[in-house]
């Protein structure tokens, strides 16, 4: 672990290039597992199809500092009855106090997923919205995913 001094603030810990690359690989794995879980729930609801052919390009400040190039990561789109579409977009691996953030578009509630797990190898995705943030979000169970998809606009 190296340190970066930013003016008068405390030195901030910056992962080495090797550590950052390992984190990105772990983040990709967690996203793949998350999307597999969401697809499985959507398939059980009937009338919903999943598409992850589109990607977003991830380039974060830590990556830029360590000379790591931007990389594509799949967006999960769920298409339901009518024109209902819910999108899960991987947003950033490095979000303070978390191990990553996924934005959710297309639902009535403005919601997001934050991974509050302690370290690599596990995931603790929690759903945050205006009703749940004060409780530290809610665990992302199959029921929570189904309720969210059911709110598609």
């Amino acid at each position: 672990m190296a340190f970066l001094t930013v003016d008068d603030a405390e030195p901030e810990k910056v992962p080495t290039a090797e550590e950052a690359r390992a984190e990105i690989e772990d983040w990709k794995r967690r996203i793949a597992e998350l999307f597999a879980m969401i697809r499985s729930v959507a398939a059980g609801l009937g009338g919903w199809t999943a598409d992850d052919s589109r990607t977003s390009v991830i380039s974060e400040r830590i990556m830029q500092l360590r000379g790591i190039p931007a990389y594509p990561l799949s967006i999960l789109e769920l298409h339901g009855p009518g024109k209902a579409t819910v999108k899960f977009i991987p947003d950033a691996r490095w979000v303070s106090g978390t191990r990553g953030r996924v934005m959710i578009l297309g639902t009535r509630r403005p919601a997001r997923l934050l991974d509050l797990s302690e370290g690599p190898g596990t995931a603790d995705w929690r759903l945050f919205d205006p009703m749940t943030w004060q409780d530290g979000g809610v665990a992302l169970t199959a029921g929570a995913i189904a309720a969210l998809i059911g709110e598609a606009r």
Binding site: W94, V95, R112
Partner: protein
């Protein structure tokens, strides 16, 4: 003062709106426009953080004023002499550096103090237009600030 719940709710809606705009531009094959909205999304998040921190600082000031006044009211000079040199009247409370005001309300070096220091550092980064190393998530920060404010208000 706007309550934190309203600030958080407004942030959730506006942040998603910007993400919607970013995604819309990417879907149309306009990544440059998407990058513009992505930058605006960061500005939006920074503005909400500054609003929240300003309200937090206001609360710190009020708690400090109350504490200093109470301590100045001690009958024994030995007890009040350190407090007598502090000027808590009106905006004069701001002549005490922010982290010293925080240290009056929470133990210096303890976890709550260190959290306040972290928030203050983020505030300084944003106020001076410097990029943050990591993204911030308002959902977590609002709760953190609420918890700290609650703990400080219990300071004897």
């Amino acid at each position: 003062m706007i309550d934190e719940t309203s600030v958080a709710t407004a942030f959730f809606h506006s942040d998603r709106h910007f993400e919607d705009l970013v995604e819309g531009e990417h879907e149309r094959g306009e990544p440059e426009s998407g990058a513009v909205f992505s930058d605006l999304r960061k500005v939006n998040a920074a503005a909400y953080f500054m609003l929240l921190f300003s309200q937090f600082e206001d609360r710190v000031n009020q708690l400090c004023r109350d504490l200093i006044r109470r301590r100045k009211g001690a009958t024994s000079w030995e007890e009040r002499r350190v407090w007598d040199i502090l000027d808590e009247s009106g905006d004069r409370i701001r002549t005490i550096p922010f982290m010293n005001r925080a240290a009056l309300l929470t133990e210096k070096g303890a976890s709550t103090y260190n959290k306040i220091k972290e928030l203050h550092d983020i505030r300084n980064h944003l106020a001076h237009g410097r990029p943050l190393l990591q993204e911030e998530d308002f959902a977590l920060r609002v709760k953190e600030i609420q918890d700290i404010a609650r703990q400080m208000s219990e300071t004897p």
